[in-house]
């Protein structure tokens, strides 16, 4: 199986993407992507948290305010959470947060909640590649910084 590699477009502007990855599944999955020598765009900055349940909507809101163009929150697949129900909590939290995004005029596409297990390195790379592509289409979060 081959992963469709992300093709960099000609553009002066580069999106900044923040990715929260949980320690037990997603970060291990990204680690596997590294050891398997899979390539993914450099636009993503990964922050490791012990559980996706640690990620608060306040953090995501602040990230947008500080100039991040998109946020990925990757968690264990449903049922696999190391802390039993941390990822379900994340799903509920960010379902509420999505409601707020509409009110604040933030595009829904700028946030992605995804389950990535420790063995899904290819999925991780695919998700990041697709997400960064989408950010290129959406443009900068702060228009005047274009």
């Amino acid at each position: 199986m081959t992963v469709e590699l992300y093709v960099r477009k000609e553009s002066e502007w580069e999106p900044k993407v923040l990715m929260f990855a949980c320690n037990w599944c997603s970060y291990a999955g990204l680690d596997l992507a590294g050891t398997s020598r899979l390539r993914y765009p450099i636009n993503v900055t990964v922050i490791k948290t012990m559980c996706s349940g640690r990620v608060e909507p306040t953090m995501v809101m602040k990230a947008f305010k500080e100039g991040v163009d998109g946020v990925i929150i990757s968690m264990c697949n449903p049922g696999d959470c190391h802390y039993q129900d941390g990822n379900y909590k994340t799903m509920r939290r960010f379902a509420l947060f999505r409601e707020m995004m509409d009110s604040f005029g933030i595009e829904q596409d700028r946030l992605q909640i995804v389950g990535i297990s420790a063995s899904e390195a290819r999925k991780a790379v695919q998700v990041i590649g697709d997400f960064v592509n989408r950010m290129f289409e959406l443009g900068p979060f702060k228009e005047d910084e274009k």
Binding site: E56, P57, T58, V60, M61, K62, F64, K65, P78, D85, Y88, K89, M91, R92, R93, A95, L96, F97, R98, E99, M100, D102, S103, F104, G105, I106, K142, E143, D144
Partner: protein, 325 residues
Amino acid sequence: MKPKVGFYWMGTCGGCEESVVDLAERILDVVAAVDIIFWPVAMDFKLEDVEAMADGSIAVAIINGSVKTSHDEYVAKMLRKKAGLVIAYGSCAHLGGIPGLANFHSIDAIFDRVYKEVPTVYNDKGIVPQLRTEIDGMILELPTINNTVQKLDDIVSVDYYIPGCAPNPDLLMAGIQAILSGNLPPVGSVLSPNRNMCDSCPKERKEEKIMVKEFKRYYEIIPDEDQCLLEQGLMCLGPVTRIGCGELCMKANMPCRGCYGPTDQIEDMGTKYASALATIWYETNEEDIDRIVRSIPNFASIAYMFSLPASIMKRKRIKSEVDFK
């Protein structure tokens, strides 16, 4: 000579002024200790009188209301120069308050709605207020209205905050006494205890783990008087709100609306509330989560009812910020 105190209102409903009057007979003690030199709602002093005073000659300026027009901005800055201490009084000055919810819309949308679209408005010529109008050779001028509602400390530096919609008169009295005795907390403090509403709520939490099946609005149920309102499915902002009000809403069997603002540890009230609210229901598949979230109308306005201009984003995003103040 008694210290001078000035009161001023900006974008507000007048409830804060009412709460000053609610000091009742204690207002006599206040007047015995200080001179009120400016209070548009109750006394006949003109703005020119204050403008003529020397800088720093007023001891305390107690300002309520949010900043929405150029006139508000002008008076706030002027009073800051004249006053030794500026106190932001009430939710609107402290956090932006309910007028701050205007930040979820653009100014054009608000004008269209208010002057053209409301069903009871008859305005077939589409007349909207103008900054400058000439009638019979006379010129009428109105202050400009800003696109974004701001709280007081976005405009001037504020020394102390008295929260609440409207503030508890006891807090004002305690504040005035603290100023008179010189026994003041660090500058920038909110003059209300930094504790959480659930801490002092008179209602009882009956369940070990709160399990809400669906969220309800105030008018849909008559809640049990003794039980936690969150347990009964009402969206109470108690978990993110500071105490000081005397738990008035809960005593009247109404959920907390968050007018006292967040505790010092909370940066953004609305997102923190989303965080807290997600832990009291236990749906685990996406369809059920969606169903529950959809059952909450306009969640952002509930979570930010009093604090939108004090939130991280401050307002709805505007694509082009060039022609926007």
